[in-house]
């Protein structure tokens, strides 16, 4: 194909849809649609192949799928992963001016005093990773995970920071990581969407749907919220008074008439439409089946810490995440809210932090173990972290300890497909204020995840408004130190 036709096709996301649906990369099974392939023919398949994305990875991937455990609010790295003896020593002193010269904070002032942690840290596993006592279950998996202690982001307010972490840009409008990934390598699920989003905690994350939106990519790639309500997916249930037989007859009639139209006008888009109705129909049984945990053993439920399988919780979402990837879903994102521990009653580093850890530690660790037992950890990335970290300075709004938003340094962990276990990458200075060694900006993290999936972040582009866009914007370096 010559470069001219390549360029033209960059603008034709619509037609790319047709082709993607045909070859199942968007999750639509066309096994029964011989007619569609006949109509397309090999020539058209070649011509329709989008030049800017691929349903094949750019190189051999180590991972096939991602489970992103998003801890919304900004978990405190200084209580969980980044122990700083010097900070303990200087507890109560005003932070040296050299650190905060010219800096702005969301709430605290320059004269805020340093806050040593009240949490104990332990060396865990053979690797001796230092992990807080608040995460005892994760501690048992120290040799499985890679901790990045030198994460760095650009914005200190929740909404923009979440957008930045998820879409690589701090304002609305860009595709999210899950959308880029399903755009790049499609999905293996025939009965469920390729990118699903779940939520637990007292409220939804700041930022809302753009966090898992498809931005300027076709909406096929947007994350689909999996809800805890009677309809786990919007409009999944048939209208009142229509039973399964009626729905089947409805789908058949729609398909027959669409098919007649297809034969008459020959537009392959109609074949895709027929396939989407078939998949919608399958989703009506596959989604309730997914949500029904009856087939899980008591042992599994106990391991995740699920006391009531019908009750929404982070633990239940972790188990659902495993069930989703077993069914071929490419990208699963779990938002757990309320990590914004400023120091108010209910949002501080005392009991509220302990509660957040108790809600998430055991399920996340159980997920790692469960994936390991099923041989799925080796090609699944599990990623844990928030939109930023918290300051070494305290923010004593009331009598309870708290910290302000911090963008200069925070911690995350990853494990699974393509990630080295039992390592830590990066260091912060002696107060934990700046990341000083192997700094990992958000775009580097994104580049690394894409790399594990076999995608070159510089090649995964989409042309919009006259230029090529990518998840990592104009940044991004693969963090080779955490690669297995």
């Amino acid at each position: 194909m010559n470069s001219n036709s390549n360029n033209q096709q960059n603008h034709l996301g619509v037609r790319q849809q047709t082709r993607r649906h045909f070859f199942g990369s968007a999750g639509v099974n066309l096994g029964s649609l011989g007619l569609a392939s006949l109509l397309l023919g090999d020539d058209l398949q070649a011509q329709s192949a989008p030049s800017t994305s691929t349903s094949e990875p750019h190189f051999t991937p180590k991972a096939k799928r991602v489970i992103h455990l998003f801890m919304a609010g900004g978990p405190s790295q200084l209580e969980l992963f980044d122990y700083k003896p010097k900070l303990q020593e200087m507890h109560g002193q005003v932070i040296p001016e050299s650190y905060v010269e010219g800096k702005n904070f969301a709430f605290i002032k320059k004269d805020a005093t340093l806050l040593g942690t009240q949490r104990k840290f332990r060396r865990c596993g053979q690797s001796g990773l230092e992990i807080s006592e608040l995460l005892p279950h994760l501690g048992k998996h120290a040799d499985d995970i890679a901790v990045i202690r030198s994460m760095k982001t650009e914005v200190f307010n929740h909404g923009p920071a979440k957008l930045f972490t998820n879409t690589g840009f701090q304002r609305f409008g860009r595709p999210s990581m899950g959308a880029w990934v399903t755009y790049g390598i499609g999905s293996e699920s025939k009965d469920l969407p390729g990118f699903l989003v779940m939520h637990s905690g007292p409220r939804g994350p700041r930022g809302g749907t753009p966090l898992w939106g498809s931005g300027f990519l076709p909406t096929t790639y947007q994350g689909v919220p999996l809800l805890n309500s009677a309809d786990p997916i919007l409009n999944l249930s048939t209208p009142a008074g229509i039973e399964s037989q009626g729905q089947a007859e409805f789908i058949d009639a729609v398909s027959d008439l669409n098919n007649a139209r297809l034969q008459q006008v020959g537009d392959p888009e109609i074949a895709t439409r027929i396939a989407t109705y078939e998949m919608a129909y399958r989703m009506q049984s596959s989604a309730p089946e997914l949500m029904d945990l009856k087939s899980e053993t008591q042992e599994t439920l106990t391991a995740y810490g699920i006391t009531d399988p019908a009750k929404p919780s982070f633990a239940r979402n972790c188990l659902l995440a495993r069930r989703l990837i077993e069914r071929g879903t490419r990208f699963v994102q779990l938002f757990h809210t309320d990590w914004d521990h400023h120091g108010n009653a209910g949002t501080n580093l005392g009991i509220p932090l302990e509660q957040r850890c108790a809600e998430t530690d055991q399920p996340a660790a159980a997920l790692i173990q469960d994936l390991k037992n099923r041989g799925m950890l080796e090609d699944t990335i599990v990623m844990w972290g928030g939109e930023f970290g918290r300051t070494p300075q305290g923010e004593p709004r009331e009598k309870t300890p708290g910290r302000d938003h911090h963008i200069e340094a925070y911690s995350m962990w990853l494990c699974g497909g393509g990630i080295k276990g039992g390592v830590s990458v990066g260091q912060t200075d002696e107060l934990g204020y700046y990341a000083v060694e192997d700094v990992v900006p958000v775009h580097d993290l994104q580049a690394t995840v894409l790399h594990c999936l076999g995608l070159d972040h510089k090649k995964l582009t989409y042309r919009f408004q006259g230029r090529d866009y990518r998840l990592t914007d104009v940044g991004g370096n693969v963090v080779t130190k955490i690669l297995a």
């Binding site: 969407p193 409220r203 076709p218 209208p239 008074g241 729609v254």
Partner: protein, 236 residues
């Protein structure tokens, strides 16, 4: 000038040879079929049902939306469901929350309100199928369309099917379509006759006196089929 040109007025019917030679219609040897925009899909359904409000301007409206929209937003938004004619305003008047738009909109590629939009993409997804097939609003449109069919002068099923086709696709059914739709409506009549409770739920609210609920419900089911056809949501 463009719309009156011979090129624009071509049919969108395409031969296998032509679609192979020019899949993207760059040579304009035919008209392109274009799926309607989100708002227009809803407007068309309402228009087919004969209840589209032509009111211009005014405050945003809140047509029914599925439960669970605000589970994943920071705050639960107010959605005071509109009543009366405000349910049938054009889609462009639907109130737009940026963090959680009316779900029909993003599902059918309406852009986010926070960025410039140089073109809308036109995807073709299972979530669109779920929306048209199951969404409460669209089901209400199907019931209203059925109401129009039942209240018409048509005296036979053949005429009713023809009327329904004209209201939705602006053409008469082919012999195949006539037969297929008759078979469908017959099957529904039989089923609803055995399930009167369901028939009551599905039938339009305002029935002419001589109608059985089960027959009326079958026409809602038929209307629902037509409102879900690819042709219905496509500018041919």
């Amino acid at each position: 000038m463009i719309v009156t040109s011979a090129t624009y007025q071509q049919t969108s019917i395409v031969s296998a040879e032509l679609i192979t030679r020019d899949p993207r219609n760059r040579l304009l040897a035919r008209q392109s079929r274009i799926r309607l925009e989100a708002e227009a899909i809803r407007d068309s359904s309402i228009q087919s049902a004969g209840v589209l409000s032509t009111k211009i301007g005014g405050r945003g409206v809140y047509p029914p939306q599925p439960a669970g929209i605000y589970v994943l937003t920071q705050q639960k938004k107010a959605w005071p469901e509109s009543q009366g004619n405000d349910r049938f305003r054009r889609g462009m008047y639907i109130f737009f929350w940026r963090s959680s738009p009316y779900p029909l909109m993003p599902t059918f590629d309406a852009p986010e309100a926070s960025v410039t939009c140089t073109r809308r993409s036109r995807s073709n997804t299972p979530l669109q199928a779920l929306t048209l097939a199951n969404d409460r609003s669209f089901f209400e449109f199907a019931q209203l369309l059925a109401e129009k069919i039942l209240q018409s002068d048509a005296t036979s099923d053949t005429d009713r099917i023809r009327l329904a086709m004209q209201r939705t696709l602006a053409r008469n059914p082919t012999p195949f379509e006539q037969t297929r739709l008759q078979a469908f409506v017959d099957a529904q009549k039989t089923w609803y006759a055995k399930n009167p409770q369901h028939a009551k739920t599905v039938a339009p609210d305002f029935l002419p006196a001589n109608w059985e609920l089960s027959d009326a419900a079958a026409w809602t089911a038929l209307s629902r089929v037509l409102l879900n056809l690819d042709e219905f949501i496509t500018r041919e």
